[in-house]
């Protein structure tokens, strides 16, 4: 991939936020950490608190109950913070956009910097999206 030849100016800390997702995108995110894709070799780390995050990975179609919690989590993240909308649900609502409980998509409530389509997106696509954001932070 040639990634080791890029001069990473900053190692990115990522916080994963499930806003009503079916879990598929979420386990693909956790898969990125695991030995086959091993995103930690790029310095990208999954953190446990939104206050340490450089990148927010948001999956899910944002049902009504989650909206205030999503906005609060975004406001607590120290700026600059990039937001990645993950999966078909995160980008547009996917097949749930006609549901009666649908209150999204993600970019209706918080500003989004990258969209990763797919149901679920492959781990390579997720890593690619995060890496693309490196220059923008």
């Amino acid at each position: 991939m040639g990634a080791t030849n890029w001069g990473f100016k900053k190692s990115l800390w990522v916080f994963h936020l499930n806003a009503g997702a079916c879990n598929n995108c979420d386990i693909e995110v956790l898969d990125c950490l695991c030995p086959k894709f091993d995103v930690e070799r790029f310095g990208i780390k999954l953190v446990g608190s939104v206050k340490h995050a450089d990148v927010l990975l948001v999956s899910g179609s944002v049902p009504r109950k989650v909206v205030p919690e999503l906005i609060e989590a975004y406001e607590q993240a120290p700026k600059p913070c990039a937001v990645v909308a993950l999966g078909a649900c995160g980008c547009t609502g996917g097949i749930f956009k006609d549901g009666y409980n649908f209150a999204g998509p993600v970019d209706k409530h918080i500003p989004v910097d990258a969209y990763v389509p797919g149901c679920p997106p492959r781990p390579e696509a997720i890593i690619g999206a995060i890496v693309k954001l490196i220059g923008t932070l």
Partner: protein, 390 residues
């Protein structure tokens, strides 16, 4: 004097957002309550506007980890309503894919449970050994998850014969890796210290709460829809239901570990005896009828009920995932245990909240004095303490 602890909604290890409140007195948990609904997307109402095939694809997204389960149960419900049997080849193919899904789901759970206890190595190994199963699923159906493959009457695409030898090889390696994990996990005194005798659910409680899947089988209740219902190829292969009598967290973990080995057995037999022929019986006539389909998902029984009215869209589709019924079993398990064990007791039912719909310590005035991140740290601290003192 008791205080209330919320865990969630966005918690680093619990993948879905849910809000669990624990009532505690010092270190001991008195009671628990769970607030669901953050993943509620109105799937049952959406299903009424889809055709039968589209419905099977819609329900895959109830939960990504057990997508084949819901899809198969829905296909069975439509077949039951319309009186159509799937073809013999389809039955075997469906069984193979579903057992592969059980493997990846249980191994995922092993990894997450290891993470909660604080064993990062178990987490990494578990998820690494999962990857060949996902590769096998991708080779057979075209995608790692969300296969769009189960349809009423059979399966959507056939599988060429050259796929099977690499899948069989991957299964042998998976069985070896599972045995390695079983040995490593069950010999470790710290893991035994965390799991043995903790969070007990008695057999009577398991029956009274209607518990399902490994959660019930770990308490000695011998229910398994693969044996209790005629579907797939389970009647034609040799396998057994795994139960453990003790009802604690260790018993449920052992059930899951041994079930992975049984699933490998089932897959190998199905591949060996795979019949030829058609892969789908089309549904030609749609009566006004009701149909029920239920199958054994990795977490328990997945139950689907449909009512058809002569058109190709369901009038009513009721979906019930196993975690919905297993969540209440958390309360008898956690009462009397310590806060540091709360997260691992919670994870033992293998909660799949997206299937279901959908932790802070507050003092009596409502002020938050600890959050979910602190609770996971407490769990890791307990493991460290056990390592020093055993």
């Amino acid at each position: 004097m008791s205080t209330t602890i919320p865990i969630g909604p966005f918690h680093p290890v619990l993948e879905e957002p849910e809000y669990i409140t624990l009532q505690v007195d010092g270190e001991t948990v008195l009671d628990a309550d769970i607030d669901l609904g953050r993943i509620h997307r109105g799937m049952e109402l959406l299903a009424q506007e889809k055709t039968f095939d589209q419905d099977c694809f819609l329900v895959e997204r109830i939960c990504g980890i057990c997508s084949a389960s819901h899809s198969w149960a829905t296909a069975l419900a439509y077949e039951d309503a319309c009186g159509v049997e799937p073809t013999p080849r389809a039955k075997y193919l469906r069984t193979i894919v579903h057992e592969l899904e059980r493997l990846h789901s249980h191994m995922l759970w092993v990894g997450l449970a290891g993470h909660i206890i604080g064993y990062w190595t178990v987490y990494m190994w578990g998820w690494k050994y999962r990857e060949p199963v996902l590769d096998a699923l991708e080779a057979i159906t075209g995608n790692r998850n969300n296969y769009a493959w189960y349809v009423p009457g059979g399966v959507r695409r056939d599988v060429p014969d050259e796929i099977w030898p690499p899948v069989l090889k991957a299964m042998d390696e998976f069985a070896d890796n599972t045995n390695l994990l079983i040995g490593a996990v069950l010999d470790d005194p710290v893991i035994l210290g965390r799991l043995k005798g903790v969070g007990i659910l008695t057999k009577e409680e398991a029956i009274h709460y209607g518990a399902l899947g490994p959660t019930a089988r770990g308490s000695g209740v011998e229910i398994d829809v693969r044996k209790d219902e005629k579907y797939g190829a389970y009647d034609e292969v040799d396998w057994k239901v795994i139960t453990q009598p003790d009802g604690d967290l260790l018993a449920v973990s052992v059930v899951r570990l041994l079930e992975m080995l049984e699933s490998v057995k089932i897959i190998k037999q199905c591949i060996k005896n795979l019949p030829g022929g058609e892969i789908r019986n089309e549904i030609r006539e749609i009566p006004r009828a009701e149909g029920i389909g239920h199958i054994e998902a990795p977490r328990g029984e997945s139950f689907h009920y449909v009512r058809t009215n002569g058109t190709n869209m369901p009038e009513r589709h009721k979906m019930r995932a196993p975690t919905f019924v297993n969540i209440p079993t958390y309360r008898p398990r956690v009462k009397g245990e310590t806060i540091s064990d709360a997260t691992v007791i919670f994870a033992i039912i293998d909660p799949c909240y997206s299937c279901t719909e959908r932790m802070a310590v507050i003092d009596p005035t409502g002020k938050r004095i600890a959050n979910g991140h602190d609770l996971i740290k407490l769990s890791h601290q307990r493991t460290e303490w056990l390592k020093k003192n055993l």
